[in-house]
Symmetry: C2
Subunit: 220 residues, 2 copies
């Protein structure tokens, strides 16, 4: 057969864990479910990863790494394209949001990874949270710099708040897509990923560029 890059069982475990975690959440998922789905022995998880927590980390890293890499890639391309002029906010937001949405496009695995991704925000333990910071450090730094350049009129603090809200909106979409369907009584389909991305980008861009309340309480 072909060259075994990394142990086949290791990959099988990661794939199965991804699916089970996405469906059940981290806490509810049991390693017995995972080994059953992967078709490997119960002890394989501890042999290859050491513990359930370590497996969670491994799954997460494999899932989020490429996304953040692509984000930075898109942002760099954007900065190259608009080397001198101003960076369009919508384009920056799209560079951040598209890689996350994109993976939902490709069949079951993509959707599962997307759900898994969403789970992280809500269910993260302390260990998960530290890794989350590690993985996102660069992305946050680069994107907040880009946003600052895009929207010089908005204060840095406001930008952080709004970026944080954007993450929440995107995470919600991936954590609970059926929620939108129920909310809209079937009229909006969260599985049309291009529509979803467009909606998300529009909403987030407008939110980002919202007027800052400079003192006066302008409640229109």
């Amino acid at each position: 057969m072909s060259v075994v890059v990394a142990s086949d069982t290791k990959e099988a475990i990661l794939d199965a864990a991804e699916a089970v975690f996405a469906e059940m959440g981290f806490a509810r998922a049991s390693i017995r479910q995972i080994v059953a789905a992967a078709g490997v022995n119960l002890a394989a998880i501890h042999y290859h990863f050491g513990s359930k927590d370590a497996l969670i980390e491994a799954v997460f890293t494999r899932c989020i790494g490429p996304i953040n890499a692509r984000r930075l890639e898109l942002l760099e391309a954007l900065e190259a394209e608009h080397a001198k002029g101003p960076l369009p906010v919508a384009a920056v937001m799209e560079a951040f949001l598209e890689p996350m949405q994109e993976m939902r496009e490709s069949k079951a695995k993509g959707a599962r990874m997307a759900r898994l991704y969403g789970r992280l925000v809500g269910e993260s333990t302390e260990a998960l949270h530290r890794m989350l910071s590690r993985q996102f450090g660069n992305v946050v730094k680069r994107f907040s710099a880009a946003l600052k350049r895009s929207l010089p009129a908005v204060s840095e603090d406001d930008l952080m708040w709004r970026f944080y809200f954007t993450v929440g909106a995107a995470a919600h979409l991936m954590m609970d897509p059926p929620g939108l369907k129920k909310l809209s009584r079937g009229r909006c389909d969260p599985d049309e990923v291009d529509v979803a991305l467009q909606q998300l980008v529009r909403f987030a861009s407008a939110g980002m560029a919202a007027p800052s309340g400079d003192g006066k309480g302008e409640r229109t």
Copy 2:
């Protein structure tokens, strides 16, 4: 002693469960932790509620009921105030977001309930989801009608998408307040609830009123 409105232990269990669920999530929290925190016997939960799932429902209902009641109350006041003229979007959003944020204002219990509230979106099982629909049905109907009136230029579908994103942004804020602190390297404080509400309202209002992409791909 005073009149016992409902069993003291029942209240103690609900209080303790609220705290433990908020801290650990529903899946990780054990009823042994809850009875220990409440200072009651292990069997008390099953005697008073029947099961752990039923307890989750009870805690949730007690937590979300008053919030949704207040939302409708604020919205009705608003509609009375602007009986003829247009409803200001920001005011509608504030009517929706304030009751949720408000409870964080009062010491530990408020913050715990807020976290619990946030957990629901990410961790809900099928049973929880059905109850969530039941509890939110009215609120969604009334607020989407109000938003439609506020923003006649925005299509109904767009409004649903954006309302859904707003829920996500708000839920994120309550699920993971420390996340904002980390993201902003300490510059933004999610515990200043009035600031948080203001930021949330501004972001959501701008997102709600975003221009709809009527055909032309206006990527500025």
